[in-house]
Each structure stands twice: as C-alpha cells, then as structure tokens.
C-alpha cells in the first residue's frame, strides 16, 4: 500500500512464534507459530475452545503470553507508537457502552488516538451505519453492533485488520457485505486476519487458512493447497446392483470400502479409473461413479477430529 505513513520496510505481516498461554493446568495455546501475509484474507479456523480468541488477544496485547511472542509488521502491539493507525481489531460485538450513541463511541476512540472527529462520521458512512449514528448502542441489532465494531477498527485507516468471528449474528445480506468489504481491503494490500468457525463462509472468503485445534497448529497455507493436501484421502462413491461382488474385488486391490445408508459404496485408497477397470474386469454393472472432492469443511473435520471441545 502506498501509504505515506507506513515506512517501506515494515509490512503488515503478522508473525506468531511459539506462542503459549497456560491458564491453571490448561494449555489454551500451545507452542503455536504461523504467519499471515499482507494482501490476502487469512481465515483463522478451529473448533470452539481451540484457542483462537486467546491467540488474537495475545497478538493484541490484551492477554500476556506465558511464552513466545507475536508481532505485527515486526513489532509487538504494545510497542506500536500509534496502534490505531496500524491495526484495526474487531473482537466482540458487544464492546461499547450501552448508553452511549454509536457516533460518540467512535468519537471517544478518535479523541484518545488523536484522530480528527470527522473520521467517526466517515467510517460510519463506510459501513452503512450513518442513519443510526445518534442511536444508543443498546438499540442496535447484533448486525449493527458488528458494523460499528468494524467502523471503529477502520478509524485509523490501518494496514492490518484482525477480526474475531465477525460474521456472528449477521444476516445473509450482512455476511455478503462483510465478504465484499474484507476482500476489497485485502485487494488494497492490507493484511486481513479473520477467525471463524463458519467453514463454508471461509471457503468463499479466505485466500489462506490457519487451522488450529487444542491450541496447536494443525495446518496452514492457501485454501486450495490445504484442501488438496487431503485429496489423497478423497473417496469415491460407487453404486452398483452387485455391490458385494464389487466390494470383494476392490478390497483385493487394497481399497477401503464402506457402505453408506443408501447402499452406495464409499471407496478410499483407489481412484475412480481404477474402480472402473476393476468393475469391468469383474463384469460388474456401475450406476454411479463419483469422486467426492473434500471441501474445507470436510478437511477441517478430518483434521480436527477428536481434538475439539472442552479440555
């Protein structure tokens, strides 16, 4: 981004290195390392309780790490001279005073950060909340609260945006708006890190993903590659009137065969052409032969299986 304020050698790269947080006996985040590149939307995924929020809060100096560190553009958040102009963060939808109007919520931040008060009006317009500027926060819907959070994050025109579950509570229209907004920010060269558990949404939004479970990194990389890396375990769905014959023949080829509740065979370990040849050799009639490419959700569930939940 050709922003006069940003010096050329400090990119908006986020680097998390060996980050650990221990609460009592629980390792909420365990030796976690990953990078987030500028100019891309990075999805930060994990089951509930995986440590996503704790990681983001450590990145933003709200929670002190037990070990390791996280930097934004090479510096810890606490060391940024003008954090609001570098990093915008949306952490929870309900973090404004209930009795304060939306515009006043933003003006408080402007005053503290030394930004002109006019920025408050500008960002409210940017997120489409200008008509509700004078309404008190307690009168906002969940979607409006999310938009106000994003408006607050945009006040300093930051190069880095960090959002924790921003799609929570948004209606389909709001989710589509959010997707377009975040993509356009990344297209401008900004760093966008979004945590979520809505996997289908992430597949539409993210360029890269970082998947964690039980506080540990499971996989990171571009969405396509992460999905592709699991394609070896892609399964093929086969229907045949002589299913048992075919199953025996496939198992001789060291394939794993399961039967789903509709009687179709779910074959792993061999690809579709091989199955076709085996069927031909065994003179088995095929009614359906379809490779099921795993989507992000399938990959995610497979990667995090057994690691989710309460520890």
């Amino acid at each position: 981004m050709t922003d006069g304020r940003s010096s050329p050698n400090t990119t908006g790269e986020i680097v998390v290195s060996r980050l650990t947080k221990i609460y009592g006996n629980a390792r909420a985040v365990n030796d976690l390392s990953f990078r987030v590149e500028p100019g891309r939307v990075t999805g930060f995924l994990g089951p509930n309780g995986a440590g996503k929020t704790t990681t983001l809060r450590m990145l933003l100096n709200l929670v002190t790490p037990t070990a390791g560190q996280a930097t934004i553009g090479g510096r810890r958040y606490a060391d940024l001279t003008d954090p609001v102009r570098h990093v915008g963060a949306v952490l929870e939808a309900s973090s404004a005073h209930k009795g304060r109007t939306g515009i006043n919520h933003l003006r408080v931040i402007c005053t503290a950060a030394g930004l002109p008060r006019s920025r408050a009006d500008e960002v409210l317009t940017q997120v489409g909340l200008a008509p509700a500027a004078q309404r008190k926060f307690k009168g906002y819907s969940l979607g409006m609260k999310q938009r106000l959070g994003i408006a607050a994050a945009m006040l300093g025109d930051p190069r880095v945006l960090i959002l924790d579950e921003p799609a929570n509570g948004l209606d389909p229209e709001g989710i589509r708006w959010m997707r377009g907004f975040l993509k356009s920010l990344a297209a401008e060269g900004r760093t966008v890190l979004v945590s979520s558990h809505l996997l289908s949404e992430m597949q539409l939004l993210a360029d890269d993903v970082v998947i964690i479970a039980a506080g540990r990194l499971i996989r990171q990389g571009p969405v396509d590659r992460v999905i592709g890396s699991m394609a070896q375990t892609a399964r093929v769905r086969v229907r045949s009137p002589q299913a048992e014959t075919l199953r025996a023949a496939l198992e001789q080829q060291s394939a794993t065969v399961d039967v789903d509740d509709q009687g179709a065979l779910l074959v792993r370990g061999v690809d579709a052409p091989t199955i076709g040849r085996v069927a031909l050799a065994a003179s088995v009639e095929l009614h359906e032969l379809a490779t099921e490419r795993p989507d992000l959700e399938g990959v995610f569930l497979e990667l995090t299986a057994g690691k989710a939940g309460i520890r």
Binding site: T53, T54, R57, L60, N61, L62, V63, T64, Y77, A78, L80, P83, V84, V87, A89, L91, E92, S94, S95, A96, H97, K98, G99, R100, T101, N104, H105, R107, V108, I109, T111, A112, A113, G114, A152
Partner: protein, 274 residues
C-alpha cells in the same frame, strides 16, 4: 496524555452516570445544609457549663465562629465525597461492565497512561463537584450564620478549610479509581465503597470510642487511619483539643490517595483482558 484525559472526559460526558449522581447529590446537599443549620443553631445556644467537663474543651472549639463557618462552607462533604468516590469507581468498573476496556486498551496499549488519565479525569470531575458545592455553600452558609446571629467569617482559617475540602474531594475520587481497579465488578466495588465509607466511619468510631475508654485517649489519634474520619478532621477549620491536628488528616489522606492510584496502575498493567 492530554488526548487520553479528554477521551476519558468524553466517556463520562456521553453517558448518564454523572447527571444521575448529580441528581442524587442535590437533595442530599439540601439535607446536610438543614442538618448543619440545626447544629450551628444548637452550638451557638450551648452554654459550656451544661456540657460534661471532659467534652467542654472540644465543644468550645467547634462552637468558635471560625469552626461554625468552616463547617457550613464545607457543607455537603459527607455525601459529596461519597459521590465522587462512586464516580471514580464507575469510571473504572464501567469499562469492565460494558466490556469497553477491550477497545480502550486496543486504542492505548500503555495501560499506566490509561489509569493516569482516569485519575486525572475523575479529579476534574471531583473539582467540579467541589466548585459547585462550595459556590452554593458560600451563598447559603453566610445566610445561616446570619440567622443564628453569628457574623459571616472570611478569615484564613475558613478558606483553609474550603481548600482542604477540595483536596478531600480530589483524594476520594482517587480512592474510587483505586477501589474500582481492585474490585472489577461494578456492583461489588460500589457496595464495598459505600460500606467502607458509611459503615467504616460508624464502625470505626464505635470501636475507637470503646478502645479509648479502655486504653486511654491516645487511641483517639488512630481515627486518622480511617479515611473518612481523616477527611472530616482535615476540614474542621480549627484544631480541636483531644484530636489529632488537621495537617495529619491531610497527610494520611494524600498517602491513601497515592497508594490507591499506584495499586490501580500496578493491577491494570498485569491483568489479562478476556
């Protein structure tokens, strides 16, 4: 830093707490004025011969015109200090109650600066409370003195009491901020503050009087350690025989004020916000 103080003042101004406190405070000010009127009236009628011998010195001291005037010009202190302490509590605990502390620390990761700004903003508010109260007292006080037949006093002792009263407002605001950082729950901090202020005063007085009867009068000097008694002592306008000097009350309060501010900063710096 001035940006942060202004931001804290905007926070206070854009919510309803300050005027709710003011609305509660106004009738309480009126009640204390009526009470002090009666007290002033009674003291000017008291003949020292009627008072038990061991108390006659003390009663004589507070019945001096300077003491009567000082008492009236610092009228409303009892509830005013309570109000600014509660405001100090709300300035901190409100951030946790409404989860705005996340936004605050994201905007300003230097947490000591945030606490200092809160102390400064609460101090501004306390001084406004003091200024308005004192203005009202300087109108009502002389009128009361006139009614009971004492001429209005404008000597240095009276002004000293008025200024020390301002110091008391300031320091109680600091206690509030300190207490708010110690007890993050808004309800918990408010209840604790009120109990310490009201119950603490009455409880400590009872205990001290009993202890003084048993162990001797020097125990009375310990009332200095009870913040609300120390601030009342500070603004008596005259030194009362048998009680510690006024400057000692001020010194103790300043000590408490600094201590609570410091504890507030140390706690805030270390605390995880999640």
């Amino acid at each position: 830093m001035s940006n942060l103080v202004r931001a804290e003042l905007v926070k206070i101004r854009t919510t309803s707490t300050w005027w709710i406190m003011t609305l509660i405070y106004l009738p309480l000010w009126g009640i204390t004025l009526a009470f002090n009127w009666l007290q002033t009236d009674a003291l000017t009628r008291t003949r020292l011969d009627d008072v038990p011998a061991e108390q006659s010195e003390a009663v004589g001291a507070v019945a001096q015109p300077d003491a009567l005037a000082a008492n009236l010009y610092t009228n409303g202190q009892f509830f005013g200090l309570l109000m600014v302490m509660l405001l100090g509590i709300v300035v901190v605990t409100g951030e946790f109650f409404h989860q705005t502390v996340t936004t605050t620390f994201l905007t300003t990761p230097r947490r000591s600066a945030v606490v200092l700004a809160k102390l400064a903003a609460t101090a501004c508010l306390a001084l406004i409370f003091w200024l308005v109260t004192t203005s009202a007292n300087l109108l009502a006080g002389p009128a009361v003195l006139e009614v009971v037949g004492v001429s209005a006093q404008w000597g240095s002792a009276v002004w000293e009491a008025v200024v020390l009263n301002g110091l008391a407002y300031l320091l109680w605001a600091f206690f509030g901020v300190g207490l708010g950082t110690l007890i993050r729950s808004q309800l918990g901090a408010t209840v604790t503050g009120i109990l310490l202020y009201l119950g603490g005063t009455i409880g400590a007085l009872t205990v001290l009087v009993m202890a003084a009867n048993r162990f001797g009068d020097w125990i009375n000097n310990l009332q200095l350690l009870v913040p609300s008694l120390a601030s009342a002592l500070m603004t008596t306008g005259v030194d009362i025989p048998g009680e510690p000097p006024r400057w000692a009350g001020a010194a103790v309060l300043i000590g408490y004020g600094l201590l609570s501010g410091l504890i507030g900063i140390l706690i805030m710096r270390r605390r995880d916000v999640s």
